[in-house]
Each structure stands twice: as C-alpha cells, then as structure tokens.
Symmetry: D2
C-alpha cells in the first residue's frame, strides 16, 4: 500500500499515523519528492481500510499495491482448484457443461430437459426455483416446489443440481441441492455470503452487473473467510451502454480471473446476451478464452415458448453446440503452453 | 407496450400470441408497414413480462410505453406524499436534514453527535450499526449493540433514528428504529424488500450503484405492493468512469424522480463524493435542484479521525452549511412556479 | 417510428405535427389507449430527427423501430460484403490477419516485423505513423516519415499497408496507403468521415470507446453516404468500470454487427486488453465468435521493449497463435449452419 | 510515479530500467516488501509514458502520483484564471450567462433571440453553425452562412459570440468569432487541439461523453502547451446507464475541476438533460455548486418548435431563471469561506 501525503503535512498528525500503522505491524518506507512525500507500507495491509486512511487531513491519496484477497489469491495458492459437485467436478482441465431451463415449471418439463441435456454431454442440471425479478408483478418461481422437482430430475438422471438462493432464510430447503448459486444481484449481499461460508457445499458465485474483478474476488473471499473454499466464479455479462444485448459478456474475465485466482471460472452466455442467437457464438468464445465450463439455458418446448426465456436454446442446438465446444476446448487447452 | 414483429411472421405463432394477449384482457392495434408490422397493446400491461415476449420467434423487439410501476407512479397519485418519521416528516415543502456519524462507535460519540446536529437543525439522527463492507476483514459495525446506542441517543435528544438493515433476519432488532434504511447494494434484494412491504415503518430506499430511475422505482414498488406506502427515495451517487470521486452524484435524479413519482426524494452527498470537501457544494446543488432533504455524515472527533469516514463533516461545518441550505431551499421552493 | 403523445394533447399542435409528417410522405397509424395515444409512423423515417420530435410539447416519448442506417444495413444488402485491400480481401469466409508494430520507428524495425508477420500468415501490415496520445508531451509518431517507411516495407514484402489518419489535412500523405484507419477517438469526427466517403480506398473504422453498435454503424453510414462502400468495422474494446484491462473487448459485437450489417467485422485484441498475456486468449475468442479477421500488434525487439507497447506479441508468439486461430476458424466456420 | 515490480525481477532488465530512468533525471527510491518491490520515482515524470513502463516484463503495475498536466494545474498556478471574451470575461467571482439557440436558422431568429437573452442578463451569445449530427441525413447546420448571421447579431447587440468548430479546415471562418467551442466529440481530436493552441482566442472546451476529469484537463493541456492559455472548461453531461435523460450532468465536476485547475468551469444544462423541464433545476444546481457560468439554449418561437431542440427554454423562462441564479450565486459565493 502506498500513502501519498499532502504537501507540508501536519507533524503531529503524521506521527500519529505512523504510530497507528506501526502498532498494526506495518513497516513504513518514505520517499520524499519535491512536491510530495509517499509512504510505502510493507506488511499485511489487508485489514487496513483504504477509506479510513483517505479520511485523514494529511493524506492526498492511497493506492493499494497488494490484492486485498488472500484465500482466493493465486499468489498464495498457485495450483488450480478443482471443485467437486456431486459425482463430477469443475476445473483442472476438463470442460463442464451445466444446462437446464430458466425456470423449473413442472415435473415433465424438468425431467425431459434433464434427460436431453445429459444425453448431449451436460454433467450438471440447472433450473431456477427462486427467481429474482425486477417487477413484483412477475412470476417469482415455484420456490420450494421447484427444488422438489429438481430433486426428482436428479434422481431420474443422476445429474447433480445447481439452483439459486435469494435469502438466508431459504437455506434449509437446499439440503439436497449439490451446488448453491448466488445471483448477480446478491454478489454483495454480505450476510448471505457469510452464511454460505459456513455451509459444506460448493457455491457458484455470479459476478454483479457492474462489479469489478476485484469486487467479485472479495465476495469469494467472504465465503472462503468463513471456511468454505469451494467457490466457482461465473462471468454472466456486465452492464454497458449497449442495449441491443441485455448485458455484455466480458470474455476477458476468463483469462484474468484465472490468472488472479486459483478458482475455476465458468461463463453464462445465456444471460449475458439475452438472445438465443448469440448463445452459440458466445459459448465458443468463452471456451476459446479458456473457460472451465459453461452454464446454458435449454428449454424443451418451443411451441409454447411464452414461458421460456428468450435466451434459451433448444435441445438439438445444444447438442450440436456441445460437440463444437469440445473441439475448441481441446484445441485451446492442449496448445496452451505454446501460446501462453 | 409496442411489439415489433419480424418480417413475414409465422401465421400460427402470431395467432397464438394474439389469443394469449387477448386472454389477459389486452386490446391489440396493429400498424402494418412495408418492412415491419407493429402491434400496439392497450390495457394493463404491467404483468406482461417483456423478456417473455422477446423470446418469441416472430418478435423482433418489444418497447414499453407505460411505466411498469403503479403505486409509486405520480400519474395515479398526483399529490406529493409526505412520509411521517417519528415526530417529524419528509416531503411536502420542508427541507429535512438527517445527520449523524458513519458508524455508531460508543455511547459518548453518538449522543454527542446527536446533540450537536440537533442544535444545527437536523431532525433525524442517522448512524450505522450494520455496515456493508467490501472486505470480510474490515469492521462490520457494532450490530445489535449499535442499535441499542442509537436508542439511547434518541431518548436523550428526542430525534427519531434511521439505520440500515442488511438481512431479513435482523428485523427483530429494529423495533425502536423509526425509519429502516435499505442500502444501495440491497436495492434489488427482493426478498428483503418484500418483507419490508409488510412492516409498519417508513423505509429509506437508496438507489443502487448502477440502477436506473425505473429500477429504483420498481424496488419501491416491491415494498408498496406489500402494503407499505411509506417509502423515501434516496440518490446516493452512481458508478461512473470517474475515479476521483467515489461515486458520481446524479443531481438530475431529484427533479426526474419527483416528476415520475409522488414519493419524497432525498440525497446523500457524503457517500456520493467520498470526500468531505465536496459535501458542502453537493449539498447546495441537491437542495437547489429541489431535494426534500439530505442525509449527511457528521463526526465529532477530528483528532481521532482514523475511525471516521473521509466524507464526514465536523459539526461546525454542518451548522454553517445548514444555514445556507435553508436560504437556497427558500429561494428555489418559493419561486418554483415561475421557473417551471 | 412510434410517437407516444402526452395525455390530452393540444389539438392544434397535434394537427400541425400530423401535417408536417404527412408532408414528408409518412403515413400515420394511431393507437388510442386509456392513458396514452401512440402514433405509428410508416414510411422512410431516416431523415426525421428523433430529438426534434421529442421537443414538442405534446410528445412524451419517441421510439425508433427501424434502424436509421441504410447503406450499412443487412436488411437491404443481405450478402456479405468482401472488401478488397491491395492484393488481398477481408470478409467472405476467410480469416484475415493484420499485424505489425504499434508505432513505426525505423526502416529496420518495420521491414523486419513485416517479413516476420508475413511468414506467419499475416496478409496486411499495420503500423502507426500518426499516434493519438492523451498527453501532448508523449511521442506523437513519425508522421509523414512513418508513412514513407511503411511504403518501403510494402515494397519489400508485398504486404498492403493500413495506418491511421488523424485529420483531414493529412490525406495527401495517404496516396500509397492501401487502407485508411479511423481511430476510436475519431469515430464521430464527422467532417473526417465525410471526406473519407469521397476517397477510393477501403476504410478501417474503429468503434469508439463508449459507442453503441448503432453509433458505429451510423459512422459507417457517413462514409457510405458519400459513395465509399468499402468499410471494415473493428471492435477494439469499450470503456467499462474494470481497470485491470485497459478496455473491455466486447466479443458480442462480432455476431451482432454481422447480423445487423453486411460489412466485415474484425477485432483488435491488443488495444482491448492492453496486456500482451491477454492477446492470445482474446484472439481465440474473437475468431470463435466469427470475426472476419484480427489486427494484432507484433514487435520485434523484446530486449529494448521500452519503446514497444505493453500489448505487443513477439513474432514467435504470433506465429504459434496464427496456427491455432486457423483451426478455430475452420471449426467454427464450417459448422456454422448446424449451430445457427 | 510508483512502479510495482513483479516478484524476483530479472536483474539485467531491472538495471536497464533504472539506467533509463536515471538518464531522464529521475531519482529512484525502492521499497522492498516480502512479495513485492516498489520503486518510488521522484522528479518530472510528465514525459514518461505509463503504458511503456507497464510493457516491461519485470513490471506488474504502475501508478501515477503526480497529475500529468502542468499548465492547467492549480498546484503551479494557485490564482483563478479570468478569461477575457470580447468585452466581457469568465471567472473570478462573477456569474456568466451564455445563451442562444441550438442552431442558427435565420437573421430574424438569431437577432431576436440575441436581443431577448441580452435583456435577461446574458453577456455572450451562442448559436450552432456547424452541427455535429449522429446521422449523415440530419441537418448539418448553416455552416459559413451561420457564422455570418452570428456576426450580424453581434453587431446588432454588442454581445460577443461563441460557436463550435468541427475541423481544422474551418478555422478561417472564425476570424470574427470571439470564443471557439470544441464539442464533446472532438475533445480528443488532438490535431484540432494543437491548432487551437496557436490561436489568439479563448477556447470553450467541452468534456467528452465518457471522459474523466484528468482526460479533460489533458485536452486543455494540449491547447495550453501550444501557448494559448485562454481555456474555459465545460461540463455538459456524461453517458450513464440512465436513458430518461440524454446525458447525466456531473455536478461534482464543478468543485473538483476548480480544485484541480485554475481554469474557469461552466456548465451546459441544456445538452446534459435533453429536456427543457430539467434546464432550470440543473442550472440552479450547477450555480449552487460554484460554477463560473452557464451555457443555455434559448429559442424564440415555440409555435414552430419542430426546428428547436427539446432542451431549449423560451425567453420568459430564461429571464425568470436568470434572476434566481443570481440569488443562488450570491448566496453561495459570499459564504464560500464559511463552508469550505
């Protein structure tokens, strides 16, 4: 951490700052320039609140040098983490396909989609039970009943299931869920993150709509600080000025997050785009950039599509896409060292 | 709502869409152009999911004409709402000053600040008990103990208190709190909003860091749909590319939100700027633009400022500012009709 | 175009609006709702200024239905355009690699890089002569001399050359340049675009840092309206809140722009990322998403890299990458219909 | 400037970097931490390209401490600059109102508006001759003829005139123009800025739609580096996710730019909002925040408003607003020290 002091700082305040920092075990290396003095702080600065330093009269600016996350930081955990989800795993060189409908609607629907995506290579089933909706007048999901139906599909197909939690009070319903998803709007629901840090299940943590990489990793850190190291990061599109797509998939997030962290990184091309015609090219792009997996919406009944999201693929399209993704993954993964 | 169809839409799918809409009581007015047909939908479209329509093969685009919020909409409630908070009220022509420290730290601190801001014209006391922090390693607030101290300050000064809730499970602790604040990061915590819709207390709803005006009003709608009509909207700065300020106060939010909605609109200049030197000019700007009130951070102990936020004013500065704000408010409010 | 009227519009003003529109050959289809009347406008609305309509007292909002660009619109030109550049071409199923240094620095440098990238499969040479720099104190490029050196490299290798123009007054120097680049900061330099509309050379038009797809296509339209149909679109990263990367490559731009327009779309992964380690994964992603080509920075002298940009690849890395890109291109291009 | 090195940097490369910096007269102060070494650079770092340093293999990150602008920097010019424009001046404690129509349309129109705004207290006349339009099919302004009409209005009223230049080739037409405006889209048209640095006229420099404060000040620096110190900065709204307003006026720009720079800062509330109903509250807010002036669109013929911008005030509204602004300015300016 580097603290830039204002010109001619008050001596008493400076001494008080120096003592306060030293009491926290921080070493201080000053650099005196003509207009500015900067203090280089050496030691564990992760507990120092950058805003508090900025508050001081004598401080002009503070710049963080070291990443504020530890458990999620690749510097301290150079090996890729592989996260177990039921009978499968995410990370470590394989390509994981998570697929299923936007919302769980009925037993027939979820079991039929589950069978179909399993046949095409998906190894985890997704489906929304609790649905975060912008309007209180929109369908809010089947909730507990949705989770019950997901369990039926799991029993039928053997696929582990992932579904979203929206509030701490819902946790009891997630006993048979294999991976708990935290949605983009809850990425900084810190009380929920703390609770999930005490749970013995993998967490699929989606990036917030305007969150930076560091903020996503700090949210992962909330979970990991509680003892749960099984976090999978998910890029799902960020808000930009472009309105043609619902969100803008940030494909750079894949190589950057994998460089900064040892956690697996998957991509959700369905919510990024909000348009089914874009799911295939964005999926190819994400895998070409090195993603450990994808989470894709697949629906089974285009004739009654009023109940399906605009971003859902049909099963045939998913099957065809899955084959191509495998080729891209092999091409990109095998040759990784050459390009690096 | 206007639905733009693709060229040469499939007849069966179009009939099915028309029937589905008519079954919901919507009248359909088609406009046939050379390249495109558009359907004008007349009736209550608030329950129609725009994303679901977009999903249809025959639909190119959907544009909403009517606002999707009802209870919060000024069209249906032309009179300004005045929201009672303890022994005072927000809205209706007066200027409300809410002031207090960033975090509640001790009995001495909160009572001393409370007395000082009351003397300068503040009529509601603020203070953080539960603190949303980006890092799990930062101070998370005194929590329940902080609320207890706020109550002591209320007893001592008679000022009603407002403080932030972060999770539904904390509600029991808020019995003696006069107004419950929902922070920017929880603006779309829909389960929490639903719960607050059932509570008999005013809610101070802060705009999310990247939220649009419509999204803020839809979050107010979540609370109001549950029966609690006592919502105060708060502009607290949005995320932009500028990094000199922590966030960018959007002063246009004041006149726009007051035009779209009957709810009172207040501004938080402290969190917008993140720099104490900006609190005074931004407060003046907000009041000049027509804000119903301000929520300002004031701390009492600059000598030990390591624990205070960089955006806090000292009591003397708050007192001086309060006087000027009153002049601006009177100038702008009295002459309102002339300017229109 | 759809015009939403305010409640109870002034009859005289409405009649005046209707006459004005009809005089422009526009047909008007009204839809009368309870709270709102909307006018559907049928005909060529491309010359109607949406802001002017919005200015009217009786108008609440205006929504455009048809794209405001014609020459660039795929609806009116369904076939892919193939743009000739010297002895090669961009678009139509092949993958074009444009490569070269950030800035032209010396005869040795540019000829050596040109030979090396040609050997690895690049078919067009890039190199900056006029450099747009944020600071007036930074190196501004070799300017005219840089173009002279590019011509030498072209004579030596046979590669056509592309370089950036920054002002209309520089056009005379571009006689032997095969393709003229318009940089992101000049995407809305409308006087320059008009001039380039009269030139008989292909134009490489880069997307502005915060431009939407429609704005990019309207800038292409400026060039095409002048008669020059040879425009290649280039995605080069947009500004977002993320600061780890210099800009955020918007990979969705590739499939979306190719859907909206018949013009070829290439991607600049070097400027998007601003970090050489990201060039390879982002290049793979862009090609997997269907890009017609890439423009990549390659430098030749890593030992004296102080003069090279942080985003430049070394020739060996470019060669290895080029091979992989060809595989991805073939995989994605051949199977296109299956995925759709 | 602070250079953060990667762990275990290559010794030869580090020595080469150190020599290169020392040759530029920079002193180097290293701070050695457990995981990272940082180099504090002391001296004039304004000519060091931050991107070039970032390019080095041994460098992890570079952070600038000192502002990269000199002539525009208040640190080196503590006194407010007062910029003469014809027979009036901007800055130094007075409030300057610049007013006039969006586009110059006819002799009658511009003279009539000029007389009317002069009577209400405007001291400079604005009017567009060259119009930057997103569409090549929209009206592009009267161009040279527009400037001729502005001169007539100047002769008639004595008001100095300001109008926008769009290309270096137009400069000859600006001989009788008192202040030359650079529009938001040309804020980084560096060749134009360089040219304007050689001109003996004040320049009104508008902030780009997504530009940071530093980028605006660097564009001012381009002009000042050429010798023209007469620059007035103008906040005119930035692009955000909100679409209700055309742009979002950043009122914080006023106090921040005035702190960072000695140049006067004015605000354009008309283009920020794009809605006439917002011009009054935003004008009040800008003046309350300390703006040195405003540039406001006023039109004279509401009955034929199809040719006026949606953001234009009528003369009566401008007159009423001007009175109120004077009160706010006096309130805020007189008490400045008390609030500070």
């Amino acid at each position: 951490m580097v603290v830039i002091l204002k010109e001619n700082p008050n001596k008493t305040q400076l001494d008080s700052l120096v003592s306060w920092l030293q009491a926290k075990g921080i070493e201080i290396h000053p650099t005196v320039g003509v207009h500015q003095t900067i203090l280089g702080l050496v030691g564990d600065t992760s507990s120092i609140d950058i805003d508090l330093l900025n508050a001081l009269d004598i401080v002009e600016d503070v710049k963080r040098i070291q990443e504020p996350y530890k458990n999620a930081n690749r510097k301290f955990h150079p090996q890729d983490s592989v996260i177990k989800v039921g009978n499968t795993a995410i990370g470590g060189g394989s390509l994981t396909l998570i697929a299923g409908p936007c919302s769980v609607e009925s037993e027939d629907q979820i079991i039929s989609v589950a069978k179909s995506v399993k046949a095409s290579g998906a190894t985890i089933l997704r489906g929304g039970a609790f649905k975060p909706r912008t309007s209180p007048y929109s369908f809010q999901g089947l909730r507990g009943e949705g989770i019950r139906l997901l369990k039926l599909a799991k029993e039928e197909t053997g696929l582990p299931i992932v579904t979203e939690i929206m509030d701490a009070s819902q946790l009891d319903l997630f006993d048979d869920v294999d991976m708990i998803q935290v949605g983009a709007r809850n990425m900084q629901n810190f009380e929920l993150l703390k609770l999930l840090g005490t749970v013995d299940k993998p967490i699929l943590l989606k990036r917030g709509l305007s969150a930076t990489y560091e903020e996503l990793l700090m949210s992962a850190e909330y979970i990991m600080a509680g003892g749960n190291m099984n976090v999978v990061l998910c890029e799902r599109g960020i808000r930009t000025f472009e309105t043609y797509t619902r969100n803008t998939m940030d494909v750079s997030a894949v190589p950057v997050l994998k460089k900064l962290s040892h956690l697996p990184v998957i991509v959700d091309p369905s919510h990024s785009a909000g348009r089914s015609a874009l799911v295939a090219p964005l999926s190819c792009a994400a895998v070409a950039a090195g993603a450990d997996g994808l989470i894709i919406e697949v629906h089974n009944d285009p004739e009654h599509a009023l109940c399906d999201g605009p971003q859902s693929l049909r099963p045939e399209a998913f099957e065809s896409l899955a084959k191509k993704l495998q080729i891209i993954h092999e091409t990109c993964w095998i040759n990784e060292e050459e390009v690096g």
